[in-house]
Amino acid sequence: MIDDSTVHHVARLARLRLAPDEEHVMGEELSGILEHIDVIRGMDVEGVPPTTHVIALENVLRPDEPRPGLSRDDALREARHVVDDGFGVPRMD
């Protein structure tokens, strides 16, 4: 069972603001998911390599050659705040 404090911690890392009752519901739902993973974990996977990728491809590389990107105006077009030719964000110290 995922307790409220774990939910609170994960929510904080994900920048989610949950009401206390939401935290509890979320804990139950997460526990359900993890229980299912426990079922999977119980399977015999001896000799099966970990599947981090589903496509049987390796070494997809790009030559180190510059390609044109965005103009500054285009880059900043979707910025909420433009400050000194940059993306303005809340103060970070």
Binding site: H53, L61, E65, D84, V89, P90
Partner: protein, 482 residues
């Protein structure tokens, strides 16, 4: 001596000086106007996909091979998740449990010639974050920060060492020599000042003789070797004081203030690392062809430490000469070219001494100055053959630097050629001895140092054209009848 022993490991981030970013074709830049090197990939627009820069992989492998690391037959990228405005995807693409380069070892050499063996835990590829600056100082209503994404996505190799270092000075020696090796590999500019090489240190202390490690702190981003050494020493002192008064060290990230020498806490414990790594589904594994790795290994340049050993053992240089001359690949190339033409020891003395001293005033490096290796060799040759005296040669060097003239031409034009006529020199010496009877008597009384006085006089009178050795001999002959 305190009863505690420091245990230090370092993490080094090296920006690779490739042409483009790690996962997109944006050009790398330093000092360009903000946000002029971006694209939908490095700005993390929806739906984009990263593609790995082959040259970054090559350079990571080169580092691994040079550090004797095991190269992973297959490695994968992971997402390191955290929220910060310098990271537009809200995750950094990095490597986690299967890095491209695994265990290796680097041997650094202290000034006294003893070895510092440092285990390399890993070296992995990742991308740099964007640059964050504080906007408009304290402008009212604009108390924000500004993000410049030019740097975002720059290829980085992070090198992590084992906790094998036992002092701040060893850590500095190790980092200096590691930096030199990276410079020789040509993978990065390795400028601590400009941030293309950044070092963090993990520091803990434990009672001497203990097997277990104490609680460590992470000393962040020190931008010079000097600060790094001072920072580690300050942190060791802080931890020693805490343990000495019965307290406990808290695991945290700390910052060293070079101005005050103080250590301050950077992040509170609640925000401690919880990056929720998981495999990056947008990138397929890296499985470098063993023949590629073998090719890189075979093509490694001569690295600074073996090179130094060769300079001392085979070229007759001192350890100090070798250290100074292997400061950069460009200086090595310069020295080697001069040393191929004249006596290597004489070349070393001139380059690390007079040449660097005179060029320092002009703010130039030897290889970018008018003193080409051929001119330097010519000048050293003139001194070696006795055609010019050492003081005259210094004057010639100054003229070569300012006018770019050939040394032999300067000697000719300024009449700086050494006086080779013994009789001419003997006459000058006789004159000086006659004019300075007191010093002559002192010499007769056995005060041999006075010889320098006569040599000085002779040099002044001849405008530096006298051979000091010959003057000494002639003075002794004139005064002592030897």
């Amino acid at each position: 001596m305190s009863a505690y022993e420091p245990v230090i490991g370092v993490e080094i981030h090296v920006q690779l000086s490739t042409r483009t970013k790690m996962f997109c074709g944006c050009e790398l830049s330093f000092g360009d106007p903000p946000n002029t090197h971006t694209c939908p990939v490095c700005l993390a627009h929806p739906g984009v996909l990263p593609v790995v820069n082959e040259e970054a992989v090559r350079r990571a492998l080169l580092i691994g091979v040079a550090l004797g690391c095991e190269v992973a037959p297959r490695s994968i990228f992971h997402r390191k998740n955290y929220f910060y405005p310098d990271l537009p995807k809200a995750y950094q693409i990095s490597q986690f449990d299967i890095p491209i380069c695994g265990r290796g070892e680097f041997i650094a050499i202290r000034d006294d010639g003893s070895e510092i063996r440092v285990g390399i835990t890993r070296a992995h590829l990742e991308e740099d974050a964007a640059k964050l600056t504080h906007a408009g100082g304290r402008r009212v209503g604009a108390a924000g920060s500004v993000v410049d994404f030019n740097r975002g996505g720059t290829p980085l190799v992070e090198i992590v060492t084992e906790p094998d270092l036992r002092s701040a000075s060893d850590a500095a020696v190790f980092l200096r020599q590691l930096r030199q090796t990276l410079l020789f590999l040509g993978v990065s500019d390795c400028s601590m000042e400009e941030g293309s090489m950044r070092a963090d240190a993990n520091v803990s202390i434990r009672p001497v003789g203990a097997d277990q490690f104490g609680t460590k702190t992470e000393l962040k981003n020190m931008n010079s070797f000097r600060f790094l050494e001072r920072g580690i020493d300050a942190e060791i002192a802080r931890q020693t004081a805490i343990l000495g008064s019965g307290g406990q060290v808290t695991q945290e990230t700390v910052h060293f203030e070079p101005e005050t020498g103080a250590i301050t806490s950077l992040r509170s414990k609640e925000e401690s690392h919880d990056y929720r790594y998981f495999p990056e589904p947008d990138l397929v594994p890296l499985a470098p062809d063993p023949s590629w790795v073998a090719e890189l290994r075979a093509g490694l340049p001569e690295l600074p430490l073996p090179l130094r050993r060769r300079m001392v053992d085979e070229m007759g240089l001192t350890t100090e000469d070798a250290e100074v001359l292997t400061d950069s690949p460009a200086l090595v190339a310069y020295f080697m070219e001069v040393a191929a033409a004249v006596d290597p020891k004489a070349a070393a003395n001139w380059i690390r001494g007079e040449l660097r001293a005179q060029l320092r005033e002009a703010g130039q490096d030897p290889w970018e100055s008018t003193v080409t290796p051929a001119r330097m060799a010519a000048l050293v040759g003139l001194v070696e053959s006795g055609a010019v005296s050492v003081p005259a040669a210094k004057e010639v060097l100054a003229e070569v630097i300012s006018s770019g003239t050939e040394p032999a031409d300067v000697v000719e034009a300024k009449g700086l050629g050494q006086i080779s006529d013994e009789d001419e020199l003997a006459a000058i010496v006789a004159e000086i001895v006659a004019a300075n009877p007191v010093q002559a008597q002192q010499l007769r009384d056995g005060k041999d140092k006075v010889i320098g006085f006569f040599v000085g006089k002779a040099m002044a009178q001849t405008g530096g054209r006298a051979d000091p050795q010959a003057v000494q001999r002639l003075v002794r002959a004139a005064v002592l009848g030897q």
